[in-house]
Structures are given as C-alpha cells and as structure tokens.
Symmetry: C2
Subunit: 348 residues, 2 copies
C-alpha cells in the first residue's frame, strides 16, 4: 500500500491535521514539530495524494494551455513562455502548478472536449492560444464554456486570439489585420501591383484578419484584386508549396506572394525556386510571425514579427493573477514589420 498522511502522522507522533499544515505551510506549527514531521515524510518517502487534496481543498494546481498545433513553433514558443510564468517547478514561490498543454489540432470538438476535461479537473486557469474557429455554433459553445469556467473561478486568458465578448475572459490579441496591411503596403511601396495571397484555413480568425489587412492595403492603393490571386490552404510548408504552384498557374505575371505565415512562405520560396524563379528578383515573398528560422531562409524572409514570447509570458502572469489585466480586459498587441531580403522591387 502507498504511504498516506496518516502514516506520516503516526511516525511523527502528531495528528494528520498537523502534517497537513506542515506540508501546506499555511498554519503556525512549532519548529520542532515541523522538523519531526518533515523527517517522517522523508523517511517514508511520502508523496501527497493530489486528487485527495484537490478534493478536500476544492482547488487544483492544474493550468490548461490550449494550442492548435504543438508541433508548430508558433505555438511552442507561446506555450513555453506561458509555462515559464505559470511557475511549474522552478517558478517563483507559491504552489507548484502543473501546466497542461492540450493539442486541439485545430478541431472545434477537441477544443470543447479539452475545455470540459479541464473544467472537470477544476483547473486553476486556462489559456487559449492562437486563432479561433469562426464556425458560429461552435463559437457559441466555446463562449458558454468559457463563461462557466470563469464562473467556477477558473481564470481564462486568450493569447493571440480575438476577444470573446461576455465570457469574462481576458484577451491579448495580435493585430493581425494591421500587420497584414503593413506588410502588403510595404510590397506596394516597392512597386508591386500583382500580388498573390496564400491564406490559411478558412473559418479561422487569424486567416481572415490577415487577409483583411492585405485587402485593405490593396484597396487603399486603388489596386483591384483579382479573385484568382487568393488561395486558401493550411498553415504549413507543403500547403505553401502547392498553393504557390497553383498561383503561378493561374497568373504567371504575379510579382509578389504574401503568405499566411512563415512556414507557408518557406514553402512558397521552394516552389518558386523549383519553378526557376529567383527571389526577390522575379518574385518577392513575405511571411508572417517571424519564427526563428525565418531569418535563415535565403534570402531572409520579409515578415511581421509577433512578440510571441512576451505575449505568452504576459498571458501566463495574468493567468496566475500576478499581473493586472489590461483595462477593459482587452489588449491589442502589434506586430513589427521586418524588411529583409525576400522582398524587392518587381521585375519589369
């Protein structure tokens, strides 16, 4: 049988209550007693029973982090930053919390199921990262779930995700629209007039916002967009590769390709090269996010840097109640245009 609190109490010749108090350090215990208890704990190799303590105390030390794709550094970086603030072992004082990274794979159902699972575990906080699905019924379901979580005392923070009104959730949102617009304006400024756009999956807020920014820039400069210039895909390299070939097929006269994110942009570069086109002499390419590898592309990728680490850290702190939420519960985080070698003036 495993060792219980009572065993430790017996060995230390005190009551279970005292052992509990020593372990939680939230009640005065004489130094000599404490020491005796600690020794017993050590000798018996006692490990607290988490579920039992969570049940009795009606609190848990679990913090949920929902990501769309943990294999994507975009989420990995945010998750890492959040977790480092959550505490976990090595964190600052206070209870040690267990960060639970949940991989939804971009599926609405899994997102919902994970939220229920976290609710079931009475999680102390939940951080949702990245874009949300725009499917209406699902959005409503998520919103209602978030509200319930918040009502139950779970702190809910959205990081890099648009605000969910009326849910009591704090939102740190990326200005995807602004970034997208700035990026395209940079290209237009270089003289481009025929721009392809490789979007992410439809029905994702991130996808829509970036695309809206792109179109706003076109419109602001009186460029009429050709519907053939937009292709939807996934947020990965292969999708960028295929979409670029498709774009080239539809209109070989394009002089620039704007991608939904950096991975897609890398795929685009590969496709262009394989098609015998030079970057940026023949076609300029731009990405989004500025992930670590983007600077290593050749030529280095022009992109919009999102402060993933900083945003994640802040979300983590807010989730832990260690930082004031922004006024109104909403903060918009802007990206920064990084002009690098992959963008240049259009060919003749």
């Amino acid at each position: 049988m495993t060792v219980t609190l009572a065993d430790v109490a017996a060995r230390a010749q005190v009551s279970p209550a005292t052992v509990s108090r020593v372990l939680n350090g939230n009640y005065p215990v004489a130094a000599s007693t404490r020491e005796r208890v600690l020794r017993a704990v050590d000798e018996l190799d006692y490990v607290l029973n988490g579920p039992a303590s969570a049940l009795a105390a009606a609190t848990s030390d679990l913090v949920g982090i929902l990501v769309n794709d943990i294999a994507d550094p975009f989420f990995g970086i945010m998750a890492s930053a959040i977790q480092s603030e959550i505490g976990g072992p090595g964190g600052r004082a206070g209870g040690e919390r267990l960060a639970v990274v949940c991989n939804t794979g971009g599926s609405p159902e899994r997102e919902l199921t994970y939220l229920t699972l976290l609710q079931r575990q009475r999680a102390a906080a939940v951080v949702l990262t990245g874009g949300a699905m725009e499917n209406a019924p699902h959005a409503a379901a998520v919103a209602s779930k978030l509200r319930k979580l918040a009502d139950a005392g779970t702190r809910v923070v959205l990081c890099g995700r648009p605000p969910a009104s009326d849910t009591g959730a704090i939102a740190l949102t990326f200005d995807n629209r602004g970034g997208g617009r700035e990026l395209t304006e940079h290209l237009i400024g270089l003289g481009h007039r025929r721009l392809g756009y490789i979007a992410g999956p439809e029905e994702r807020t991130t996808t829509r916002h970036r695309l809206e920014g792109h179109r706003a820039a076109l419109e602001a400069h009186g460029i009429e967009e050709d519907p053939r210039w937009t292709v939807y895909g996934r947020y990965d390299r292969q999708s960028g590769y295929e979409a670029t070939l498709e774009l080239l097929r539809r209109d070989p006269s394009l002089t620039a390709v704007v991608a939904a994110n950096d991975s897609v942009a890398l795929g685009a570069c590969a496709a262009l090269r394989d098609s015998g086109l030079r970057i940026p002499e023949d076609v300029s390419v731009a990405g989004f996010d500025d992930l670590p590898f983007s600077i290593d592309a050749v030529p280095a990728l022009t992109t919009v840097r999102l402060p993933l680490s900083e945003a994640g850290a802040r979300a983590g702190r807010i989730a832990m109640g260690r930082e004031e939420p922004p006024p109104g519960g909403i903060a918009t985080i802007r990206g920064e245009l990084m002009v690098r070698g992959s963008s240049g003036g259009p060919r003749e």
Copy 2:
C-alpha cells in the same frame, strides 16, 4: 454551489450509485433509467468532479510528457505524436486522457519536480523524451523516481532517450551514435579530412553519443582529431552561429562543419555566409534530426532523419498499453542519412 452527482441523482430519481454507473458505463443499467439520468445530466449541465473521482477510483486520466524544450520542434513533433495516441479527446475509444506536456528546460531539478508532481497526481503514464542529463547523482535520483512510479502502476516510457536500467521503464532509443558516425563517414567519403564539430551541451547523452559517432568515424578512417575542432554549445541557432565563428578563428582551413542538430547547422550556415564562405563549395555543413525546415535551407541541409513522429506515436501507444513493448523493453531506432546540397567535396 456547483452541481454534484447527488443533484443529478435526485433529479433523475435514482441513487447516486446509478448515476455513477451510467457515467462510467461499466455496469448494466436499464435503458430507460440511463436515458433519464443522461437527461438530468444534460439539464443540470453537470460536469464530473475529476479529483473526487480519481480519489475514489484510485486512478487518474493524466498522462505526463516531459520535454526539454517545447519551443523546439524536435520536441514539439514528438509531443504531438505522443499526444495523438494518448487519445485525449478525439482519440479512439476508452477513457479520455489528458496529456500534460511538461517543459523541463533541460534542468535536472525541474525534471525531478515534474516527476514528483506527476506522481502526486497518480498519473496513468509518463513519457520522457529526448536526451538525459548525465550528472550522476541526478541520474540516480531520476532512476529511483522512475522505479517508484513504475511500482505505483504508472507506465513509464522513454522516447529518444537511453534506457534507464533497473527502472522498469520501456525505452525507445535513437541510434545517435550510429547516425553521427554515418554522417561523418559521408563527409569523409567526399574527401573531407578537416572537420569541425559543434556539439550540444555537455553532460547530455544525446550530445555525447552523436559526438562519439563522429569520432568513431574519424578514427575508423585514420583521421586524427584536433581538439580545436570541437566546440560545445546549446542546441539552438545562435549557438551554432557563434560556435562556427569560433571554429573558423581556431582553424580557417576546415572544410566541413558537423552540427549537433539542424538548428545549430542553420546557425553555422549563417555564420559561414557572413564570413564570405560558400556552402558547400568552400565549407560543407551537416545537421541532425531533419526537422521540417531543414529542407528549405539553401542549400538544403544534409542531415540524419530521425523518425520523430513514428517514435512518438509508438511511445504513446506503449504508454497506453495498446502496443506490446519491444522485447527486453528496449528498442533502438535508427536514423537515415539524408544527403542534400549542403555537403559536397572539399575545396582544394
């Protein structure tokens, strides 16, 4: 107050026991009764209390995944694969399990603390990924912890980590030594005789094994290694950049640089280019792991592909008891040499 099992029972006019049985589906319940209960659950919006049920049933649906750096795709990819097999929502039948990804940051203490936390939560299984620290006392502490976990019924699986003898842990190990050797032999075969090596952090099994493979290749071909040719660093791009400059300073006549992993290799490429050297005409570069972005480097990176996804999936299945452990509890997974553009014959 939150809704409890008893509330549901009252509403459905049955005993709490029956509700529990309906929810767990592990005991015959008349269809009509079941339906009544389910309706009550729905109407009351009832959510099971995880800790309470874990306490009573003495089991938990948590599965821990320990990674050194979640922001690194190497771990992200494995974690993703493991998690997809763990089930979680969307997984196949059986209890829904919550995968807990724990980021140790490569710190021995955090690793240990996380293991204790998981032990406290009575985790159903634990998967440790990536190389282990070679610090003797720490290794012993981890081993003893793993043994205790195993004794307590937690399934322990090592993925991409050397076997921990006498702990009852199943190990899926990468053949880092073999891969390192093959890689260097490829370079030697091309004619290189002066090879720099950028290693990872010292006291890591992965670092040591890859380096040993490299040295074995040199020795097998009668090349005497110059101590100046090895530099230790971290497993990231920046480290690769700096180490390469250092290598170049120490011996400008090197014709090839072998890096501890792909990120490091990318940093090395950048440093070489910034130093005015062409790849592979002036210096060949090789990485390890074959992460998705490695093929996008220009020239594409010669490296050793590790089947991260497959290994992770297998580890996940074993952790869930859905696949037989390998005979002896140990399986070695070989990497595959990927020869690409970044390696070529040495310059004059």
